[in-house]
């Protein structure tokens, strides 16, 4: 589904990502792990086109998407959620998701039809899946932090993606909220057949949901494979797993 070949990006001399490689097979959950500053978020920004790489290739469904602008990457079927809550704070929960659905169905430019009558069913479907239907009329800045993170994922699903990128989906969440997210990731992967690429610091979560793991250290891929292989890998143990116990 997604192949990344020796991607590199430096910011004014600092090599944030250098030689990162990765593949996400269709329908699988792949986790990128690594210490803070290993280049995980930069990797995500490169995939979604928010920043352009210096070298390397990104191929999605057999098509090269290296350096395409974000809205085009999104339209090809790659959606992302952000590490920090990144929603439309002054819109309602419903409208937050609706904006994404409208963009996917190329309806964003319609001028005279009232928006509240359009793509209602599609939007409610997403909200229903994520248990947000009851709060659909609320201004979303009034939601709890956990619900805002769920909404964050809901907006991504509004684009009806084939590949979903989740940047630390449980950062700052309570154990209970984390369990909800784990449940959600499993459902999206197993029932909806979504390919998911995620970064996460919570190792229990990673080894619970991921079918493949890629380990980044100082911008480089130092290991990639099945969780069991990665756990055994000497370089990984030295660089990362050893440190955190």
């Amino acid at each position: 589904m997604l192949q990344i070949e020796s991607l590199a990006k430096s910011f004014s001399g600092f090599q944030a990502v250098g030689d990162a490689s990765l593949s996400v097979p269709r329908g699988q959950v792949v986790a990128v792990i690594g210490p803070n500053g290993a280049g995980k978020s930069t990797l995500f920004n490169l995939i979604t086109g928010h920043i352009k790489p210096d070298a390397g290739r990104i191929v999605f469904k057999g098509r090269e998407i290296t350096a395409l602008p974000p809205h085009q990457v999104s339209r090809l079927g790659v959606a992302r959620s952000f590490q920090l809550v990144n929603i439309f704070p002054r819109l309602t929960v419903f409208e937050n998701v609706q904006v994404a659905v409208l963009a996917r169905l190329k309806q964003s430019g319609r001028l005279f039809t009232p928006a509240r009558r359009l793509v209602v069913q599609e939007t409610f479907e997403v909200l229903h899946k994520l248990g947000l239907k009851t709060s659909s009329d609320r201004i979303c800045s009034s939601l709890s932090y956990g619900d805002q993170k769920v909404l964050e994922i809901a907006i991504s699903l509004g684009s009806s993606p084939e590949l979903l990128l989740l940047d630390e989906p449980t950062a700052g969440m309570s154990p209970e909220e984390t369990r909800t997210i784990v449940q959600l990731i499993k459902q999206l992967s197993q029932r909806e057949g979504l390919s998911i690429l995620l970064t996460e610091h919570d190792m229990d979560l990673v080894f619970d949901v991921a079918q493949r793991i890629m380990v980044m250290h100082q911008g480089r891929t130092i290991a990639e494979g099945h969780p069991a292989e990665v756990r055994r890998d000497r370089a990984v143990q030295n660089a990362y797993l050893g440190e955190t116990g």
Partner: protein, 331 residues
Amino acid sequence: MSMSWLDRSKEKTARVIPFRPILLVSLLGVAALLPPILPAYYLYLLTTVYMTALLATSLNFVLGYGGLLQLHHAVFFGVGAYTVALVLTKTTWPFWLAAVLAPLVAALLAAVIGWFCVRLRGLYFGMLTLALGQLVWAIIYKWRSFTSGDDGIHGIPLPGLVSSPTSVYYINLGVLVVCLLILYAVIKSPFGLTLVAIRDNPVRSQSVGVNIKRHQLAAFVLSGFFAGAAGVLFVLIEQSVSPSLLYWSKSAEILIMDLLGGMAVFLGPSLGAAILVVLSMVVGTYMDYWLLVMGLILLLLVLFLPQGVLGYLQELFGRKTVQGGERDAAN
């Protein structure tokens, strides 16, 4: 730039008030009945209010809903007015053609200026609108052989049907109502929702597949179109044009109208326009310090009424309904 007065939650509360449409329709009815009983001067004043309300609302479309720092909106107004003036004095084309052409020319100019501006963000966007706008002003000011320079163009010939004060009044009222209805529909459309989403979070909008530059450019062009329409109305009222129509201070005046009325409320800018037009006429008859008065208004506004007059009124209203709801729930 943080714009805390743009709070859509207040819009939501307002929609609950049941008598708002009734109030608006009755206001419109009163406005339609006024010409026979109103003295000529007040008729003129009210006509100017309508024209200015359209201008202020067309700015608020990009400023309040689009979050675009359009600092030189008067350019499209002025170019609309000049298009009518030039067509009617230099060609034999009929008035209706000039009136249709003017908003289109303004929209075309907005497309050109906007094409450059949407590449920038925030204050840089604002500075570029100002710079390019002043460039247009300079061209009109200096190109004496074509535009008559700072003399302006006076005594623009209008067909009899649109030259009596009463007919001009009704045309202004009619055009205002139609244009506001269109703009309101656009704001409530997917286009409008997406525009607000881009204002709130451009990065995220891009991530869900919105081409934000193209979207903002389209909004910019639309707002230029309606400013151009207001320019046509201006020529109907004054039968003259001058470069001051598109000087930057005129843009500042429109900006203050939007702030004064309230940018989060659809009719806020119209109220702001009414207040400022009436005040400027009243102040203008007594002294020459209109700019000083306007500065004072701006100062008081920023300090005490950041959400604008209509925004404030709606807040009062909104609070009442919420409290009522809570009481009901308690019982």
